[in-house]
Symmetry: D2
Subunit: 187 residues, 4 copies
């Protein structure tokens, strides 16, 4: 049975860094979103997850894609307060916006957004399409080749949606001395 | 000015390994082709290019994609004869088909296919779409995220072409406990 | 001009983790000491310095060598308090003793031990011989081959000192099916 | 039972590259020797063993140490003839002398020196002291920290031997702004 993908749950946050104002899924509608859930003291996040999210932000800078971090602390809460996170982002040169997941109102360890998405731990990579639908959720290390592939599926859908609404010209395809460019890769 | 991509030049080879019969672009029509041009004594090919091509072959095994190696020797010809190449492929566990680029009939160093594609050295990664057109040619190391993105562009085109000819059903999209699957990623 | 190496300055600390009681250079006399000065939010420490110190602790477990960490916070003080450090050591599985460098009494950023050693930043690797003398201080990444070489110089000196005081038997040297053992390498 | 280390077996070679004349253990007496046995189509040699031997040659350039390669082909003989080896050394920028192990006179696969040392495969790292004695033989990847340690044991022995024969001055030990130097590390 094929199910229609559901809308991604809204984000519950207490604070945002690297952005003048809070981000919401509604405000990002029309763009593909890579949500990277991490903890600043999670070794796999630091060595692999965050660097991957940073490279996506750089390499897809020309595309309608936004990389968003989510600090989903579910252990050692006192060790990872927002002043520590702020220094962490500074030292690791993380430039993308990062929201702080809101603590559980009942005092449980798992914060609200992490629970709403049913995440199993950190790092978790979530892909949300331009219509705000949850399309992919991966716990742990994710292969660059597959991630690049999945992002392009969503980006082409987003472009296709736009074209249906506008008078679409076919995307340019060109060859020069350096090679031949695919649509949407800039080179 | 936007140019229409040209057909990829045919391959001129003297021998094929890892395949019962020679491959040609005509026989691969309908499939996306990643052509990896290398030399067995090229350090950048051994450390990065060939491993990347191997991972593409594994990770895209479910897709209409064929990875093809091309041994484009343009220096140290005596050092890289076919018996050395055969041992190399065995030791490095390269399983995809590899053609041996045909030497220049005039005795020049650069072999025929390498010249026809205007390659600047090894490794070179060439992407050819399902209609046999040359769409991308990259000399040197190529980023996994970008390669995954570019391959998916061509794979979705290939699928779209097929659907136009058949009675196309929308691709299945599903979520389960492990996450939510994008079309064509099997995961 | 050749100078006699001076005694390493004493350590000024406010707290110790991973050890039931504080460590001092006096108590470590007779053992070679690798002092690894780091900050928990220093990327070079996390990716290279601390893993190297951990490998030294494991690979030289049979030798009269003690690996000691020193948390020398000189920026983002509020972000790296001891409760954050404790969680960091837990998550990164750092088992060796770690002292917290005492803050400057005058309120300057650089803590006391860091200043006493004239360290230029983190990570800094300090080698102290069995007589408590400062023998090597390296700022930044340090090559494993050179570090192994330097440690063995100090270890052989330490052994030689002991032998002079005892009735020294020559260290055993043996070959077996697995190979031939150097003194002090256990294999 | 502690055994006295035996003299390293002499090398049987058919050819030498990167050196104007053949090397022998007799001619290297007085120097520590790191013998790196490899095959040019052995992935572990190419990715780890040879780079390690190259770094030893560079980092210990000031020490009485010679790094020697030995091409011990025991499979795919036709694929790794000397013209291929020569191109390999050129492409991988191997500068240290490399001998070609002499084939078995009875036609067996394992060449003579490899058999004399009882090597179990490639890469194999052999350490020979300044008196020509076999002190360490490791099959497979060897840790840099341990290798640096073992080399220094043999280098200090070699220096100590020389000092016994001369009027030995104690090795210089010095501190400057950059740090404090151990004997024999130049740094």
């Amino acid at each position: 049975m094929i199910t229609t993908p559901a809308l991604a749950p809204p984000w519950s946050t207490t604070e945002w860094l690297n952005t003048p104002e809070p981000l919401t899924l509604e405000r990002l509608r029309g763009r593909v979103v890579l949500l990277h859930a991490f903890q600043m003291l999670c070794p796999g996040c630091v060595s692999r997850g965050i660097p991957q999210a940073q490279r996506v932000a750089e390499l897809f800078a020309d595309a309608p894609l936004t990389v968003v971090g989510l600090h989903t602390v579910f252990e050692h809460h006192a060790a990872m307060r927002v002043e520590s996170l702020r220094a962490f982002l500074h030292e690791y040169r993380v430039r993308f916006p990062v929201g702080v997941d809101a603590p559980d109102p009942g005092g449980e360890d798992i914060p609200q957004t992490m629970r709403a998405y049913g995440m199993r731990g950190t790092p978790t990579t979530v892909l949300i399409d331009a219509r705000g639908r949850l399309r992919r959720q991966v716990f742990g290390a994710h292969d660059d080749l597959l991630l690049g592939r999945e992002l392009q599926t969503l980006l082409l859908e987003a472009t296709s949606n736009q074209e249906e609404r506008s008078t679409a010209a076919p995307p340019g395809v060109g060859c020069d001395d350096a090679g031949c460019a695919l649509p949407g890769t800039g080179g």
